[in-house]
């Protein structure tokens, strides 16, 4: 891996983190394309993105905790329920051909881009303001 590639990956990682900090998301929407650019296949990029989300979320949660916004019980209910959904999602993702998965992800990215553009016009419906 060249120095330029590593620098680009780090820069996109930081950008994903900024996005995550602003909207309370994990940053996966930018991790996956970055990992694809590094040469991973769609499925491996998605799987690796989930691991990369963890430090980002830990940092974000720490910030929220400092602002006193944290609601551990609610987060626990949603998080634990999601584990069942995760199993179904993994099953679907591993059974789809990678090019189909990549197209679906592309549509998702465009939908999020449209949502963000709409939000920037309406002065932001729900970016987290510390």
């Amino acid at each position: 891996m060249s120095a330029e590639t590593i620098a680009a990956a780090v820069a996109l990682g930081v950008a994903a983190g900024v996005l995550a900090g602003m909207f309370g998301v994990g940053g996966g929407i930018l991790f996956v394309p970055t990992l694809l650019g590094l040469g991973l296949g769609q499925l491996d990029a998605e799987a690796t993105s989930l691991l990369a989300i963890l430090p980002t979320v830990a940092a974000g949660t720490w910030r929220q905790h400092r602002y006193g916004n944290l609601r551990p019980r609610l987060a626990l209910v949603v998080g634990v329920s999601s584990v069942v959904g995760v199993q179904v999602g993994v099953l679907i993702a591993t059974s789809l051909p990678e090019h189909v998965l990549r197209r679906l992800f592309g549509v998702l990215v465009l939908a999020v881009a449209a949502q963000l553009a709409w939000r920037s016009r309406s002065r932001g419906t729900y970016p987290s303001r510390p």
């Binding site: 602003m22 994990g26 430090p55 980002t56 999602g89």
Partner: protein
Amino acid sequence: MRLVGIGLVAGLFSALFGVGGGIVAVPLLIVAAGLGERTATSVSLGAIGITALAGAIAYAVEGHVHVGYAALVGLPAAAGAVAGTALQQRLSGSSIVLGFAILLACVGVWLLAG
């Protein structure tokens, strides 16, 4: 019960696309569960930690997770998440959001064309 439903949907979405699920969880927590925006954002963040961990483990069992690559993008992102909150107070929020919208639109076109 609504929170359980939101968790299920967010989990499926997360594992299918390799994202945290916050994209669907935050709007659902506001619209379906009636939470305020800030609470929804923080609940989503906390839940994503559990969701992403479950997804990463499920995929790792099948050998799809590359730890080195995850560290390469994940660790700079953790710094970015902290910096992002501070940056947000100095720059105009809507121009940052528009910048991300343009970046993602380019990525989306690349994914669909490639």
